[in-house]
């Protein structure tokens, strides 16, 4: 019950209001945060929930949060009555950007900079109390980087993606949370999952399964890499035995009544192995260096080096487009920070490339283990006893949904998430027509935050216009009759 302390190897979240970043704590490791290089050694041994201020590349533990600075400034000036005589001019501030940069370089604290800014503002004292508070809050956020170090949770991980929701198919807290509820996944659930949300949905479902249950993640085909980045963030190494992977393009072979385990093995063996990202976060596999910088930043859609496995030019083209997009996004971010987040990538890729050219004895053992796991998954699928089906991916959901319904038991829970409404309308119509589902619901969520402040309470000025769409239903008896679908 005592405060938990930060250990080496922990994944930790640096958090401030509405903003989070995740890092693994390793000795002598530096991370980039808001363009500042930081030494995180000092965190080891500190309790979770501690708050730190960044001061010239060092993390300095502080007892109270930034609101203290705010309140000091606030009381140090008497506000004006209204803004009637204020003109919005750049000349209102006598300090230039260069002045501020210079102060920072000199190591002057953020708080001191803000005090200087107020001192040099023509209009601050004439502003109303509310305008003053608004100004201070803005400047505090900009000049005093303060972070609380937290243990990763799905809620905090979700915040990491708020800057680039396209990586998680635009899932928002409201849609992800409903996805989790309507899936009814709980301790011991058997779950079929198709996701392309960096492993976020997988991780959340896995967390809800606890140390029991089984999740079969269906992937496009054995040659395509899958990204399960978030599994690492949440430190899910210990549960990985609950997670299986199975290629969708081998479902049809399962479906054959005669499908012997031999035949299946044969098929599997003609394919490249699945390059699985799931592994204990703190135990690097052979061949990985302890990379801190300079590795490949693209972990989203890894292409295998084997040209044969990329027989579809179309898929290749798509991957390339996405890679290009990712690069664009990354270009805006400091390289170093990405590197830390993605630090497994290059090693993975190196390993994969090697995989095809000459399989060492270790590799061969791993490959065999994966084959065995895939066969286990096949057995689970063939039982047709899944309790839950969750689809949240960038693929057209309808064919996947109809296919997967063949493997669901009656009275199981189905959730299909999509960033677009139209494909779900098709899913809805199709499920309805086939009498495959009960309590069929297609919905979106209107989600808004509020500013609650004395005399200044109002809904937040900006909100997200969409968090995607959800189709939910309960399978009915008829849905087991695969011929009807």
């Amino acid at each position: 019950m005592e405060p938990q302390l930060i250990n080496e190897g922990d994944q930790v979240v640096f958090h401030r209001e509405g903003w989070s970043r995740v890092f693994q704590i390793r000795k002598k490791r530096q991370v980039y945060l808001d363009k500042t290089k930081l030494d995180v050694d000092s965190l080891i041994g500190q309790p979770y929930g501690s708050t730190f201020e960044v001061d010239r590349g060092k993390l300095v533990k502080i007892e109270k949060d930034a609101s203290q600075a705010l309140s000091i400034c606030e009381s140090s000036s008497s506000p004006g009555t209204d803004n009637r005589n204020l003109l919005d001019l750049d000349s209102n501030q006598r300090m230039s950007k260069e002045d501020i940069m210079k102060m920072k370089d000199e190591g002057i604290t953020g708080q001191k900079i803000i005090e200087e800014l107020i001192e040099n503002s023509e209009t601050f004292k004439k502003k109303t109390e509310f305008s003053q508070a608004k100004y201070l809050k803005k400047k505090t956020k900009k000049h005093i980087p303060v972070f609380t170090v937290m243990r990763p949770t799905p809620r905090l991980i979700l915040e990491i993606f708020s800057k680039d929701p396209s990586k998680i198919c635009y899932l928002r807290a409201d849609s992800l949370s409903q996805l989790l509820s309507y899936s009814n996944v709980m301790h011991g659930s058997k779950v079929a999952l198709v996701e392309t949300c960096q492993g976020l949905v997988l991780s959340c479902l896995l967390q809800r399964c606890g140390d029991a249950g089984k999740i079969v993640q269906l992937i496009p085909n054995s040659t395509n890499a899958i990204c399960r980045q978030v599994m690492d963030y949440l430190g899910f190494g210990k549960f990985k035995e609950n997670v299986y992977t199975f290629p969708l393009d081998e479902l049809s072979s399962l479906n054959d009544a005669s499908c012997s385990s031999n035949a299946r093995t044969e098929v599997s063996q003609t394919k490249a192995t699945e390059p699985c990202n799931v592994r204990p976060a703190a135990a690097p596999v052979e061949g990985e260096q302890n990379v801190t910088e300079g590795s490949e930043p693209d972990a989203q859609t890894e292409e295998t080096a084997d040209p044969d496995s990329n027989s579809s030019p179309y898929v290749e083209e798509q991957d390339r487009n996405e890679a290009a997009e990712d690069d664009n996004i990354k270009a805006e971010e400091p390289r170093g920070e990405e590197d830390v987040v993605m630090d497994d990538t290059k090693a993975e890729r190196d390993a994969k490339t090697g995989d095809k050219r000459s399989l060492g004895p270790n590799r061969e053992a791993q490959r065999q283990r994966r084959e065995a796991r895939q066969q286990e998954a096949g057995v689970i699928i063939k039982e047709k006893q899944f309790d839950s089906l969750v689809i949240a991916c960038k693929y057209n959901p309808m064919p996947i949904l109809l296919k997967m319904l063949e493997f669901m038991r009656p009275s199981s829970s189905v959730v299909v998430y999509c960033q677009y409404l139209e494909p779900l309308v098709e899913c809805y119509t199709s499920v309805k027509e086939n009498h495959a589902g009960l309590q069929l619901k297609l919905s979106e969520t209107w989600f808004r935050e509020y500013q609650i402040l004395p005399q200044r309470t109002h809904p937040k000025i900006n909100m997200s216009g969409t968090g995607g769409f959800l189709l939910t239903f309960i399978t009915s008896q008829r849905s087991t009759d695969s011929k009807k679908l």
Binding site: M1, E17, D211, S411, S413, T429, L438, Q439, T445, R448
Partner: protein, 323 residues
């Protein structure tokens, strides 16, 4: 027993949900020798025992499905003793409170147990829910329900007014949920209930004045990340919409025969909902006929429900760090 773990077949003592229709779902405790009256006629309890969940049962006047209970279906069918939370808010509460198997949670008040079931589903089998209800009969009824649903080991129902008497818990919970008229009065007690390493708190209030006072108190008691939000479900009705195409040709210049053909064509199209394949081909037919003939433009449409919940309550979340 069917809430706390997933069962394949119905047994005596199970709570099952009878799905009579979209807006007609009834809970039924399967009891030997009993008979249940539905709008489709009588259902003998014995007849469902041993059946797989999801089975369709023939009643004298129609089909009924026996569904495995889930907290979401329970929320739609539970006996209302109070206003209840619905799944949109419930989902957000469970997610934002960082609940997972093993979490210990304090909830006040229990109400009709709508949220409690979702919490229990998530914290099973090693977590625990301490739930408080100031209304005696409701507390007893909730206790009975939890027992019935196989949750006895994971939940403690206490009849007490937390406003005033407090949770009386000593640093043992990971998360606190408050649905009280004056939540700000319970912040101190909630803080005391929370583990020393910290945790999360949620307060649900319908009125903004309650939110304001609660946020003030949370802030004064050193809670951080105080965020207030609202989430509203917006449901779509899927319709096969049909809009008449107007003609810009004087009817004099159009032969009656032509007109009748095109009309017959539009009649041959599926009158109600149809699969996308059918939709696409009917759409194609239109294209062949041209965009401005005298037929109709048919399309599947997602029409937002005309009435939707405008407000359920404000959800305020806050973090307590190690204290």
């Amino acid at each position: 027993m069917s809430f706390s773990s997933i069962k394949q077949t119905v047994g005596y003592g199970d709570t099952v949900l009878l799905h009579v229709g979209y807006d007609n779902m009834l809970p039924m405790i399967v009891t030997k020798g009993m008979t249940h009256q539905t709008k489709f006629g009588a259902l003998r309890h014995d007849s469902v025992v041993g059946k797989k969940f999801g089975t369709r049962i023939q009643c004298p006047k129609g089909w009924i499905y026996i569904l495995h209970p889930t907290p979401e279906l329970w929320t739609l069918s539970l006996p209302h003793r109070t206003q209840i939370l619905y799944t949109t808010d419930i989902s957000m509460v469970v997610f934002q409170l960082d609940l997972q198997p093993g979490s210990v949670v304090a909830e006040a008040g229990t109400g009709s147990g709508s949220l409690s079931h979702a919490i229990l589903r998530t914290i099973l089998p090693t977590g625990h829910l301490h739930t408080y209800e100031f209304h005696k009969e409701r507390a007893e009824k909730a206790k009975e329900e939890f027992h019935q649903h196989g949750h006895s080991g994971c939940v403690t129902v206490t009849h007490r007014d937390v406003c005033g008497e407090g949770f009386q818990l000593d640093h043992i919970v990971d998360a606190v949920f408050l649905d009280l008229p004056k939540p700000w009065e319970c912040v101190t007690s909630a803080k005391k209930a929370m583990k020393k390493q910290g945790g999360r708190l949620c307060s649900f209030s319908p009125c903004i004045e309650q939110v304001q006072r609660t946020c003030e108190e949370l802030s004064a008691q050193n809670f951080s990340d105080i965020v207030t939000m609202e989430c509203l479900a917006r449901h779509f009705n899927i319709q096969y919409a049909k809009l008449q195409n107007l003609s810009f040709e004087s009817s004099a210049s159009e032969s009656t025969a032509d007109k009748e053909t095109s009309n017959r064509e539009s009649y041959s199209e599926p009158p109600v909902k149809s699969a996308s394949a059918t939709l696409s081909s009917s759409r194609h037919k239109e294209v062949k006929r041209g965009g401005s003939d005298s037929g109709s433009h048919n399309f599947p449409s997602a029409v937002p429900a005309l009435n939707m919940p405008g407000h359920t309550g404000f959800l305020t979340f806050a973090t307590l760090t190690c204290h």
